[in-house]
């Protein structure tokens, strides 16, 4: 069957029927697949209690026409996870994939699975979905045994039709059994992640849709213009607000001259509390104009909030690290390694002191921004004394708690309706915009839509922390890496958590202060090489300004992963060059010695992935750098490898460096990737392609710039990103699926997306070195920086 260009009609009917059900009971604005029915008045004003994750009915609804709707507490920032959930749940329920649909991430109708983050969709959160679907199948078989007069174990099911194994004429459909009724089956498990019924999930060979390259169900609406996004929400009586951001960090608002905008068309009100200011107008363009035109007066802070970006690394080197450990209870603790250490193996100090030659290098990674595509946005509806937020934030459940706490409303009077939006790469500004919309709507008593402008987004969104990493290494007499010292310092003291009512920007601007901010971390690198003597330590420094500053850090796709990996995987290359050994072979030799990782599980897969990358690329084993080309275009190749959780990634880049301009073009990229069980190979390939290119963008372009009072990266010119002209001629994605160990064919899925971000910065740096013989230890590799390095080296 080929994929249609639209949602199948019967699915649309299911959705329509289901929507009407919602609309009656909950006043939900439905916004997918072309359906669009804003409700003037919610018939029922709430409250909106949490769906009970221990009820099958919270996860699966089967309809009269024998189709099913799945309800999951996840959001899909664009990697196709919703379709993947349908594949897994259709398999477990034994229903045709194209007779199902999946609704995600709206707090009043889907169970709280956090939303998305940490590449946990398949690795962690698909399991309860599978178990519940398997249990629903088991319950349906039991139900069928009564009317059919056949014991459940004598029944079989295909495409949601149950038949007797002995007599196929005895049949009943899921729809005939349960449509219009409830399962009323209580599951067990202490939390949503562990929830389970009695049924067992299927083994991998029994899965029919899982592993197939099925088309994503959200894409047709994204290319024909019919999908309605969070940014498209329109409500009766809705007005538009735009922020007036402080003109510099830590600015104090001293006056607002409302007369400067009062006579503008559509003007409604200036909203302000503390240092937060917004203007509300009838129409969007009116709000934009009024926010620009509003005269405000601000006082500068007495001391500079931060050093200028060109002095950042001097500042970080000279500043004493913060002694305090990261605050306990950080909601995202699982995705970040602790500040730590030092972790010491062997006796590195002794080895270094006696080593004939010690190599030292310092790597620098600047702040890099989310810079999501649109400005952050949300619409808030305060009708009926409730608060409904329409948002694309990837963590809708956290947002609900945050908005409730920020406004002082009971949680069950707040709901967040998740809708599609631009990116979702971590702690974006979507939650800041949601709290702003909620506050203004709460104050005004009418629906409000807020959207940040480009300069707000680029300057004020959460940043990925800057890192300064010092590396030392020494070879033994046989040219093997025998000692290694990693010391990372991150500028990450005010690391934002997700949806915190006292750290969202509006709360900061209104004066909310924590006793101490949640300190971030200087992550450890993936500890993947057998090096007999090693030491790894991380520490955090802060900037003078902690609050009300645009240089606020937060999680960005693979939080604090690309920075350490740039340092370590570049340095491994430096050591390989010092040993005059091929850099791939050098890595393989270091991995072969690893014994302490799950009985060699990751080691075996790492070796397979590195070899697969080399084979796909056509790697010719030789030490770097190569003999330099004679023309203006210098060609080279570089590799890097890493893992994240149990996902292993190796990337190889072939670059062309223009000797005259310093321009670097990655002509070819290879990404070999093993994330265990593949749910949808086509979605996975796209996710890997795009993640790899995101890494390339961070390698070549991305850097937040600032002077001593404000961020000066404000748009796509002053904060460039990857463009079409940068795209390689060819990208090869190699899915090194499964486990080389034949005793474990039933490998579970691991997180796929974020792991692809880690190695690319180093792969490009290593390729530049191979091409030019010049090692550049500072990203991004912008033309002027590369040209200066080439000139300094006499290339």
């Amino acid at each position: 069957m080929s994929a249609g260009s639209t949602i199948p009609k019967h699915i649309e009917e299911v959705l329509a029927t289901h929507r009407r059900g919602f609309l009656k009971s909950a006043g939900l604005l439905i916004a997918s697949f072309g359906g669009w029915a804003p409700l003037a008045n919610a018939e029922e004003p709430g409250p909106y209690p949490n769906p009970d994750f221990r009820q099958i009915d919270s996860w699966i609804v089967i309809h009269e026409n024998n189709t099913a709707t799945f309800y999951v507490g996840k959001t899909d920032p664009g990697q196709g996870t919703g379709t993947g959930f349908r594949q897994l749940m259709s398999d477990e329920l034994d229903i045709a994939f194209d007779k199902t649909t999946c609704i995600m991430g709206s707090t009043d109708i889907t169970v709280d699975q956090i939303g998305s983050g940490g590449s946990t969709a398949m690795e962690r959160d698909s399991w309860p979905m599978r178990r519940v679907a398997a249990e629903a199948r088991r319950v349906l078989l039991e139900m069928a045994s009564v009317p059919l007069g056949v014991p459940a174990d004598q029944l079989t099911v295909t495409d949601a039709v149950i038949t007797s194994k002995a007599d196929a004429s005895k049949r009943v459909t899921y729809g005939e059994l349960i449509a219009g009724k409830k399962f009323n089956v209580t599951l067990t498990g202490t939390n949503v992640t562990s929830v389970t019924g009695k049924a067992k999930t299927k083994s991998v060979p029994e899965l029919k849709y899982t592993g197939q390259p099925l088309h994503r169900d959200d894409i047709p609406g994204k290319v024909d213009g019919s999908l309605k996004w969070a940014v498209d929400v329109k409500l009766p009586g809705m007005v538009h607000a735009r922020n007036v951001k402080p003109p510099f960090a830590c600015a104090k608002l001293t006056a607002i001259d409302e007369s400067s905008v009062k006579s503008l068309p559509g003007f409604i009100k200036v909203m302000s509390k503390g240092n937060y200011v917004a203007v509300v107008c009838d129409r969007e363009e009116q709000a934009i104009r009024a926010a620009r035109q509003l005269k405000t007066t601000w006082e500068k802070p007495s001391t500079a909030p931060f050093p200028a970006s060109e002095k950042l690394f001097d500042y970080m080197r000279a500043t004493a690290p913060i002694a305090a450990p990261r605050a306990a209870g950080n909601a995202d603790a699982e995705t970040r390694n602790p500040v730590g250490g030092p972790i010491v193996v062997g006796n590195p100090d002794a080895f270094f002191s006696s080593a004939p030659k010690v190599l030292e290098a310092e790597y620098q990674i600047p702040f890099q921004g989310h810079t999501a595509f649109a400005g952050a946005h949300a619409t808030a509806d305060p009708s009926n004394g409730q608060m409904t937020i329409y948002s694309n934030d990837m963590k809708s459940y956290g947002m609900r708690r945050c908005v409730a706490a920020f406004l002082g409303m009971p949680e069950d009077r707040v709901r967040v309706v998740w809708m599609q939006g631009p990116q979702g790469f971590g702690r974006s500004a979507a939650e800041d915009a949601a709290c702003e919309a909620a506050w203004i709507a709460h104050e005004l008593g009418r629906p409000v839509r807020v959207q940040w402008m480009r300069d707000e987004e680029t300057a004020w969104d959460a940043k990925s922390p800057a890192f300064l990493v010092k590396m030392r290494g020494a070879l033994d007499g046989d040219g093997r890496l025998a000692a290694y010292d990693y010391r990372a310092r991150s500028c990450d003291y005010n690391h934002l958590g997700y949806n915190e009512p006292d750290t969202v920007l509006i709360a900061q601007l209104m004066g909310a202060r924590r006793e101490r901010p949640a300190a971030g971390s200087a992550s450890m690198p993936s500890d993947m090489y057998a090096i007999p003597h090693r030491k790894m330590a991380g520490e955090v420094v802060g900037l003078p300004a902690i609050w009300e500053t645009p240089l606020r850090t937060g999680n960005l796709r693979d939080p604090n992963g690309p920075q350490p990996t740039f340092a370590t995987e570049s340095f491994i290359d430096e050591m390989a060059a010092a040993a005059k050994t091929d850099p791939l072979e050098f890595r393989l030799n270091l991995i072969k010695g690893v014994v302490n990782d799950d009985g060699g599980f990751r080691r075996a897969r790492s070796i397979a992935v590195l070899k697969a990358a080399g084979e796909a690329f056509g790697w010719d084993a030789r030490p770097s750098p190569k003999r330099r080309d004679t023309g203006d275009i210098l060609k080279g190749r570089g590799a890097a490898y890493s893992f994240r959780g149990q996902t292993v990634v190796a990337q190889i880049a072939e670059v062309e460096v223009n000797r005259k301009t310093g321009h670097v073009w990655a002509k070819r990229l290879v990404c070999a990737h093993d994330c265990g069980l593949v749910i949808n190979p086509e979605s996975l390939r796209r996710t890997i392609e795009c993640g790899t290119l995101h890494g390339l963008s961070r390698a070549l372009h991305e850097e937040v710039q600032f002077n001593t009072e404000k961020v000066t990266s404000l748009d796509w010119v002053s904060h460039p990103t990857l463009r079409h002209a940068d795209i390689p001629e060819r990208i090869d994605v190699v899915l090194v699926n499964g486990d080389p160990n034949p005793k474990r064919p039933d490998l579970p899925p691991y997180g796929a997306g974020e792991a692809t971000l880690k190695p690319m910065l180093a792969a490009i740096g290593n390729a530049i070195y191979d091409a030019t013989g010049v090692r550049i230890r500072r990203v991004p590799f912008r033309d002027d920086r590369v040209l200066a390095a080439l000139k300094a080296a006499g290339v």
């Binding site: 069957m1 080929s2 994929a3 260009s5 920032p77 664009g78 990697q79 196709g80 197939q212 390259p213 099925l214 088309h215 994503r216 894409i219 047709p220 994204k222 290319v223 024909d224 213009g225 019919s226 999908l227 309605k228 940014v231 498209d232 068309p265 129409r283 969007e284 363009e285 934009i288 810079t371 999501a372 595509f373 649109a374 400005g375 599609q420 939006g421 631009p422 990116q423 979702g424 959207q451 402008m453 480009r454 086509e682 796209r686 996710t687 392609e689 795009c690 290119l693 995101h694 390339l696 748009d715 796509w716 010119v717 990103t721 990857l722 463009r723 079409h724 002209a725 795209i727 990208i731």
Partner: protein, 165 residues
């Protein structure tokens, strides 16, 4: 306010708006055509592009009163319920991640193929270079343009995989 007449996707609309209003907000908020989206408001990213006189124009910086010709938006590309070959290629290649920028990618590609039915890789890169994507779907966008180019020429692209759905 003043009266402005716009022809969009074959339909004529008369609206009472400030003449300086950027076309984007009129399309989205008055006419309900939300294919074009705000990305930067500066004409730098292409998310808001519409086609006017055979050119892909950023509607975020185009005053509504300056529009004298018919406007085509993403919603106007399909004919008689059939997707434009570019839109179909976007589905066949599974191009989007979040998809927020894809309006601009598709509209810019449409203008490119109208002018150059069989563009080289270099021509694709150059024509598309002002249309940004933060999910980095560029490689697949370029692949889809080549696929659509073949479809339009009547050369059915050979599918490299069996697709089930």
């Amino acid at each position: 306010m003043s009266s402005v007449t716009l022809k969009v996707n074959g339909r004529t609309h008369t609206l009472d708006v400030e003449p300086a209003t950027p076309l984007l907000y009129v399309l989205r908020n008055d006419l309900g055509l939300q294919g074009p989206r705000f990305g930067c408001g500066l004409g730098q990213c292409g998310a808001c592009k519409v086609i006017i006189n055979g050119t892909a124009i950023p509607s975020c910086v185009m005053p509504v009163s300056a529009v004298k010709s018919e406007i085509t938006t993403l919603e106007g590309l399909a004919t008689k319920g059939k997707l434009h070959p570019l839109q179909q290629a976007w589905i066949d290649e599974q191009v989007p991640q979040c998809g927020f920028c894809q309006n601009g990618q598709i509209m810019t590609a449409k203008v490119l193929l109208d002018k150059i039915p069989h563009p080289t890789d270099r021509q694709i890169r150059e024509a598309m270079n002002g249309t940004l994507c933060r999910c980095m779907s560029y490689y697949r966008v370029q692949t889809a343009i080549k696929r659509a180019s073949k479809t339009i020429a009547g050369i059915s692209p050979v599918s490299d995989k069996a697709v089930v759905a």
